[in-house]
């Protein structure tokens, strides 16, 4: 028995994408240019200096802004990337993930706070987040590549789609978890809503927010491999190369370099935020 008609969203979506491409091309081109420019600037800055210079600067910054342990960790992670011969790929990946995570947090943080205050918004967001997390990234990469063509921009978009849900969910959880009496205190002493948010809610939410940021960074790095697939370069490209050529050594080195970059970014961002939050005012 054959069905009268198959359910085929693609039949509607494909023309829609085509239409978007035809009518909004300048807009998408602008997005591409902005993202490429920012990425290029970060990458350029990281690659302009010799590797040892970058490592030295990173260690120094970690030592001054955080503490000795973070500085040692930064030295080890970057040192591994350099010694494994994947310095350029590592820097490209750091730039890619830094931009993707920044955009993810910029989207997820305010939305997460709103969702914590408006249960209806959260109820509406929940299925969207579920879809974002479960639909295989290859699926939404197709329209992204159709619109933005191959390269780093669709990779960043795929990464953002993957990075937003954990940050958003944990932001909502973090702000939900702020004790009610602390918020009441803010109101009772006549604090403005913005003051309550920054001086009471944010410090109380910080530990959960850090988990969210950690998840956002790690999941974004997991997408780096996929980014290699659509030609975004970086460590993902090395992993892909290792896979296609069945080179165990290259794949393993690139994989470990991804781990090193993940450790570096997570510990440094966490250390910086914790340090900044310990003694405010």
């Amino acid at each position: 028995m054959t069905l009268p008609s198959e359910f085929s969203p693609g039949a509607f979506l494909a023309p829609a994408i085509d239409w978007l491409n035809a009518n909004f091309h300048p807009f998408f081109a602008l997005i591409t240019r902005v993202i490429e420019a920012v990425l290029g600037a970060i990458e350029g800055a990281l690659l302009a200096l010799p590797p040892l210079g970058v490592i030295g600067l990173a260690v120094l910054a970690a030592l001054l802004a955080i503490h000795l342990r973070a500085a040692i960790l930064a030295g080890c992670c970057l040192g591994f990337c350099w010694l494994s011969g994947l310095w350029t790929g590592s820097m490209q990946t750091i730039a890619l993930v830094a931009v993707a995570v920044t955009i993810s947090v910029a989207i997820a943080f305010p939305l997460g706070i709103l969702a914590a205050r408006r249960p209806r918004l959260e109820a509406g967001l929940r299925p969207v987040l579920d879809i974002m997390q479960t639909v295989p990234p290859w699926v939404y990469l197709i329209p992204a590549v159709m619109i933005f063509s191959l390269g780093r921009v669709p990779a960043i978009i795929a990464t953002i789609v993957y990075g937003v849900p954990p940050m958003l969910r944990l932001t909502t959880l973090a702000f939900r978890g702020v004790p009610r009496d602390l918020k009441e205190l803010g109101q009772a002493i006549g604090a403005k809503p913005g003051t309550i948010l920054w001086k009471i809610e944010l410090p109380a939410a910080r530990p959960t927010l850090l988990v969210g940021l950690n998840q956002c960074i790690l999941l974004s790095l997991a997408m780096v491999v996929l980014a290699g697939l659509v030609g975004a370069g970086g460590l993902g490209a090395e992993v892909t190369r290792g896979l296609t050529r069945m080179e165990m050594g290259l794949g393993l080195r690139a994989g470990l370099a991804i781990v090193a970059v993940a450790l570096l970014m997570d510990r440094l961002s966490r250390g910086a935020i914790e340090r900044g939050g310990r003694r405010p005012g």
């Binding site: 205190l185 009772a188 604090a191 009471i200």
Partner: protein, 361 residues
């Protein structure tokens, strides 16, 4: 009995709460209409509208310099009531006037100013910010008002000195005991120098000895600084220790308002009577409540030991025990206004209002 209230009666009313209702639930608007138009009871509101009546027709006045206790068990609506006084909760019906101003009419900025300058609040959970030092916590109220760092720290330091924590300013809340944390909470409320302090069961979570100590200190401090306070508690002993007047709440209704003596001597209903049954009358009941007019006493008042009308039963017993007579003359100025016999004293100790002629007179 009237004598005790004369001072308070003439003082300025700071908080005037007029027939305030609070109904919680999705259909609260309909429920309120049903209450005003058809006079439904709390139970009917719950059945017909699935709404909970938190506070029902509460009327109270807090005067300058007075400590007003609201006593009730959990679920009696006392925490809701205190939050209506600074509009942390919006009333469904009725008016709350603070310093002669209807707080429902204030816009957001004016309400913030009112809360910041005139109404301090202390919470049962203390609600200290864990990442700030004791000094920064105490100064927080002024900080959000935009007061400069030096000035607010000076005020916070002074407030902390008043609660005996001058040496602990650089510590973090987690380093302090529960009692000390609550002192910081009180200091934070005092730093902004408000006229009214709302105390939401501040000492309930403390152990008994510390609680008593803080009760006495709080009363002393409030009186010394000339503040007014609304004090929520589920403990009648605490209400009696601290409060100038007490309101007893049950199921969202204020059953009785009065001084501790009035409530103990003339409980409004069986619920209040059961509550006060275990309370010692020795220091609560005063001579003017148990005395009989001099004419009703068979003997001559000459030569009787004398006491003022404010003397409590404990003092009267000591006076009689120390003399060879069976009665005490109650003297106000130069005149004998009443006689207290041993029989009157015994009735007073029982707190049996019917057996106390003066209370009925």
């Amino acid at each position: 009995m009237e004598k005790a209230n004369t001072d308070a009666d003439t003082a300025e009313v700071l908080i005037d709460c007029r027939s305030v209702w609070k109904v919680f639930g999705e259909r609260n608007a309909e429920a309120i209409r049903a209450i005003t138009e058809r006079g439904l009871t709390k139970k009917e509101i719950l059945q017909q509208y699935n709404c909970v009546v938190g506070v029902s027709d509460a009327t109270l006045q807090v005067r300058r310099g007075e400590i007003f206790c609201i006593m009730g068990l959990s679920g009696s609506g006392k925490s809701t009531l205190i939050r209506l006084l600074n509009r942390l909760i919006e009333p469904s019906l009725g008016q709350v006037m603070v310093k002669g101003q209807d707080i429902a009419t204030l816009d957001a900025a004016a309400l913030r100013r009112m809360r910041a300058r005139h109404i301090g609040m202390v919470f049962q959970s203390v609600a200290l910010l864990p990442q700030r030092t004791v000094l920064e916590n105490a100064a927080f109220g002024l900080e959000v008002q935009g007061v400069g760092k030096d000035e607010r720290n000076r005020a916070a330091q002074a407030a902390l000195a008043k609660v005996g924590l001058a040496d602990w300013t650089a510590r973090y809340p987690s380093e302090l005991s529960g009692g000390m944390q609550q002192r910081v909470g009180l200091a934070r409320a005092l730093t902004s120098d408000p006229e009214i302090i709302l105390m939401d069961e501040p000492f309930s979570a403390l152990d008994p000895l510390i609680r008593r100590q803080l009760q006495d200190e709080f009363r002393q401090l409030t009186k010394d600084l000339g503040k007014s306070a609304v004090f929520i508690t589920h403990d009648l002993d605490e209400a009696i220790r601290i409060g100038d007047r007490i309101a007893i709440m049950k199921d969202g209704v204020i059953i009785q308002t009065g001084t501790a003596e009035e409530i103990v001597m003339n409980p409004a209903d069986q619920y209040v009577a059961d509550f006060v049954a275990g309370i010692s009358r020795l220091h609560l009941v005063k001579a003017h409540s148990v005395m009989i007019p001099p004419g009703e006493w068979a003997g001559a008042p000459e030569g009787l030991p004398c006491c003022p009308p404010e003397a409590d039963i404990d003092t009267l017993i000591a006076t009689i025990a120390g003399s060879d007579r069976d009665a005490v003359a109650i003297v106000e100025g130069d005149a004998v206004v009443g006689i207290v016999t041993i029989r009157n004293l015994l009735s007073g100790v029982r707190g049996d209002a019917a057996a106390v002629p003066a209370a009925a007179a």
